[in-house]
C-alpha cells in the first residue's frame, strides 16, 4: 500500500500581504490526515494567472491530490475559475443546481439577483460540480494525468461544508489509505530541551515508522507521536504501547493526554466532578471565560464572570477592600484572593479562577515588571494563590495567563 500525498494551494493576494491569516489550511490538513492522506506541501499564491498555473503544475507533479481554495468570489479580483477553465480545458457552462442555489441564497435575504451572482453558477464542463449549500460558489473537481484537483471557495464556513460533505467522502472512496495515527500528550512547566533529555532513551528506541514531534505553544509543550503504517491491525496496539510509555515518563508534568484546547480539558474535568465554575478577570479581560464558553455545552458548568478591569469594579462588584488595593495594589496576592472570594459569593459557583496582572507594554514598575501576574484558584474556604512572571508581549502574556490559570485550576481539581 502506497502513501497518498496531497498539496494544499490557497489563492489570494490577501494571504501574501498578510491581511488574512490562513486558518483553512490547518483545518483541511487535519481532515486529510484523519482520512490517512499525508499533506506534504502547502502553497499560497496571489490572484495572478501565471502564479496559479505554476502552483497547479508543481503540486500536480508532486502529489496525487491538489486541494485549492480561494479566488472564487463574484468580484473582479477573483480569477481562479477562468484560470482553471483554461488549465483543464473545456468551456464555462451553466449548472442548473448551482443556479437554483444562487437564486435561493440571494433571494433569501430579499435581494435582487445580479448578473455577477448568476455567473457564480457557470462552471467548466470538464469539472464535476460539488454543490455548496452554504454559499453561491460551487466546488469543482478536476482530474488530469491521474491527479485530482478540487477547487473550493476560501470562506472557511463554505470550504468546511464542502470538505465534509463532498471532498473527503469521495477521496476515501477513491484511495486505499495507510493507517495514520496521532497521539498527543500536553505537558507544562518543563522546557523542550529538558523534556527531550528525560525521554531520550524512549525516543531513540521508537520504530522507524513512529515519529515524535515537540510542539511548544504558550507555556505548554505538545508531544505528538505519529505512526504511518500499512499494517492497520497492529498499528493501534503498537501506538498505544508507545504512548503509555511516554505518559508514564512524563506523568508529573502532564496536563492532558488528548490534543484538546485548555477550555475543553477543563470542561471535561468539571463535568466529571459535577462542579460549576466562574471567573474574575482583570488583565485577561474576559478571555478565560470566552475560552471556556467556546465549548458547546459549557452552560452545564460555567455560570458567569466579572471582568473587573477598573479598580472601582473590583471594589463595587467583587467587594475587594479599598485598603487592600491601596496597600498592596491591584496586582497582588491579597487583591486576587479577594477577587476570587467575591466571584464565588456573587456568582455562587463551586470553584473559581481569578487573575490580575500587567500585560504590557505599559504599566510595569521595578517592583512589578510587565508580565507579573497573580492567580487565585479554588473554592469557598480553600483558595490557592500563585505568582507568575511572563516575559513576552501583550498578546502572548495574556494567552499564557489564560493557560496558567486553567492549568492551576486543573491542579486544584485533581489534588
Amino acid at each position: 500500500m502506497q502513501k497518498i500525498f496531497a498539496s494544499i494551494v490557497t489563492i489570494g493576494d490577501e494571504l501574501l500581504i498578510g491581511q488574512t491569516i490562513d486558518t483553512n489550511s490547518a483545518w483541511m490538513a487535519q481532515r486529510l490526515n484523519d482520512a490517512g492522506i499525508w499533506v506534504q506541501r502547502r502553497v499560497a499564491v496571489g490572484d495572478e494567472k501565471q502564479a496559479i498555473i505554476r502552483a497547479l503544475e508543481e503540486e500536480g507533479a508532486a502529489s496525487q491530490i491538489v486541494l485549492i481554495t480561494g479566488g472564487l468570489g463574484p468580484t473582479a479580483d477573483d480569477i481562479t475559475k477562468p484560470v482553471l477553465c483554461e488549465y483543464f480545458g473545456g468551456q464555462l457552462v451553466q449548472n442548473e443546481q448551482a443556479l437554483e442555489n444562487v437564486n435561493r441564497l440571494v433571494s433569501r435575504n430579499g435581494l435582487p439577483v445580479l448578473q455577477r451572482n448568476l455567473d457564480q453558477a457557470l462552471v467548466p464542463d470538464t469539472a464535476t460540480v460539488l454543490q455548496n449549500a452554504r454559499g453561491t460558489a460551487p466546488g469543482m473537481w478536476f482530474e488530469k494525468n491521474d491527479v485530482i484537483y478540487v477547487s473550493m471557495p476560501g470562506v472557511p464556513f463554505e470550504m468546511k461544508g464542502l470538505m465534509t460533505d463532498e471532498v473527503i467522502p469521495r477521496l476515501q472512496q477513491r484511495f486505499s489509505t495507510p493507517e495514520l495515527l496521532h497521539h498527543t500528550l500536553i505537558t507544562t512547566g518543563m522546557g523542550e530541551s529538558f523534556v527531550a533529555e528525560r525521554i531520550q532513551a524512549f525516543e531513540a528506541a521508537l520504530p522507524a515508522h513512529i515519529k515524535l514531534a515537540y510542539l511548544p505553544s504558550y507555556g505548554l509543550l505538545k508531544l505528538r507521536l505519529t505512526s504511518i503504517t500499512p499494517d492497520k491491525l497492529h498499528a493501534a496496539e503498537e501506538m498505544d504501547a508507545a504512548f503509555d510509555k511516554l505518559r508514564s515518563l512524563l506523568a508529573d508534568i502532564t496536563v492532558t493526554d488528548r490534543d484538546i484546547p485548555m477550555g475543553v480539558m477543563l470542561g471535561n474535568l468539571l463535568k466529571d466532578k459535577g462542579l460549576s465554575v466562574s471567573t474574575a478577570e482583570s488583565c485577561t479581560g474576559g478571555r478565560i471565560a470566552s475560552q471556556i464558553t467556546a465549548v458547546s455545552g459549557s452552560s452545564a458548568y460555567f455560570k458567569g464572570s466579572v471582568v473587573s478591569y477598573a479598580n472601582e469594579v473590583k471594589m463595587n462588584v467583587l467587594g475587594v477592600a479599598a485598603d487592600t488595593l491601596e496597600t498592596f495594589g491591584a496586582v497582588s496576592e491579597q487583591t486576587v484572593r479577594q477577587m476570587a472570594e467575591g466571584a464565588l459569593r456573587l456568582l455562587k459557583t463551586d470553584c473559581v479562577m481569578a487573575v490580575s496582572g500587567i500585560m504590557g507594554p505599559d504599566g510595569g514598575s521595578a517592583e512589578k515588571p510587565v508580565g507579573t501576574v497573580w492567580i487565585a484558584v479554588g473554592g469557598p474556604g480553600n483558595i490557592r494563590t500563585m505568582r507568575y512572571h511572563f516575559r513576552y508581549d501583550r498578546e502572548r502574556n495574556t494567552e499564557m495567563t489564560c493557560v496558567a490559570a486553567m492549568n492551576e485550576l486543573r491542579k486544584w481539581l485533581v489534588s
Copy 2:
C-alpha cells in the same frame, strides 16, 4: 526600479497535519510589504530534508529573498540547521555571542545548561549570525547566487524580534524598493456582489498599477486599494484621491477607513468622545470584552463586564426580572435591554453593549433558531435594541455577534 520579490518558507510537520495555524507568515508578509517588498509565494513543508531542499531551490529561483522559519529547536525533530549547512556549504562552528545568550537564558530560570542547549550556539560558518535576544536559536543569513536566505526560529515572539531588529533593516539597506501603498475601507451590511455593482465604474477607471481587492470577513467587507509604482512622488497623492472617491461612494456603509480591528476602532471613538464602556455578555462569554482589552491603553475607557451565562447571574447580578426571563426567555429584546440597564447601573459607565443569543449547535427552537441574537447598545435612558440572525457554526456566529455589537455601538456613538 525593479519590484523586489520574496518567498516565505515555513518548516514543520505540525503545519502539515494542521496542529498549528501559521500566524507567522501573515505577520512577516505585512512587515515585508511595509518595506516595499512583494511576497509572491508562501510554502510550508515538513521536517524532511528533500522537501526543505526542494523548497529552497524553487523559491531561490523565483525570488530575491527567501525567509525561512521553524525547525531550529533543541530536539531531534528539528533538522533545519544541518540541512542549511549542507545546502549552503561550510561547517558548524560555535558562535561566542550566541553561546553567551544561551547560557544567560537557560540559567536565568535557574536551570542547568544541557549539551543540546549549547548546540543551539553552533552555526554554519557560511552564515552571518543574527543574534536572537529572546530565545536560544540564533537567526542565520545566507547568500547564494544573488539570493538572500534568512533562517529564523518558528516561535512567533522570537521571529518577530529578529525581523524587527535585524532582517527588515538589513533588507532595506540592501534594496531600493518601489513604493507599495495600501488603503483599506471596512464596510458592513452590504454583500460583496452589491458593493461591486455600486463601484463598478470606479473600479474600471482605476489605473493599471492600482488594484482593488474584496476581502469579506465575519459580516464585514474590507476593500483594499494597493498601489505599486516607482513614482514615489505622486503615488501617495494619487492613492489618496482614489481612496477619497471610494470613501464617498460607500459612506453609508462604512465602518472605518483604516485597517484596524473592531476593538481598536471602537476604542478610538470612545477616547475621542471621552466616554467609558462596559459589556453584559451572555452568548459571547466575555469575547467582546476580551477584544476591547486586547488594545493597549483600553483601561482609559473600558471599566468591566458581567458575563451572565446562567439565568441566575442575569437575575442576581444584572437585575433582570425573573418574570421577563420566564415570559420572553433569555434570548429576547426585553432580557437584553435589562442586561444593558443592569450593567450601566452596576459598572457605572457612559455606554454599554449587551448580547444574548443562541450560538449553536444546540439550543435552537422553531421560534428562536440557532443564530438568533438580541443586541442592546446605548447609555442611561437611551438604549437601542436589535435582532440579528446568523446562519453559521458556533465559532462564526460568536465572532459575528461581537462584530455586530461593536458596530451597533459605533452607530449609536456617531448618531
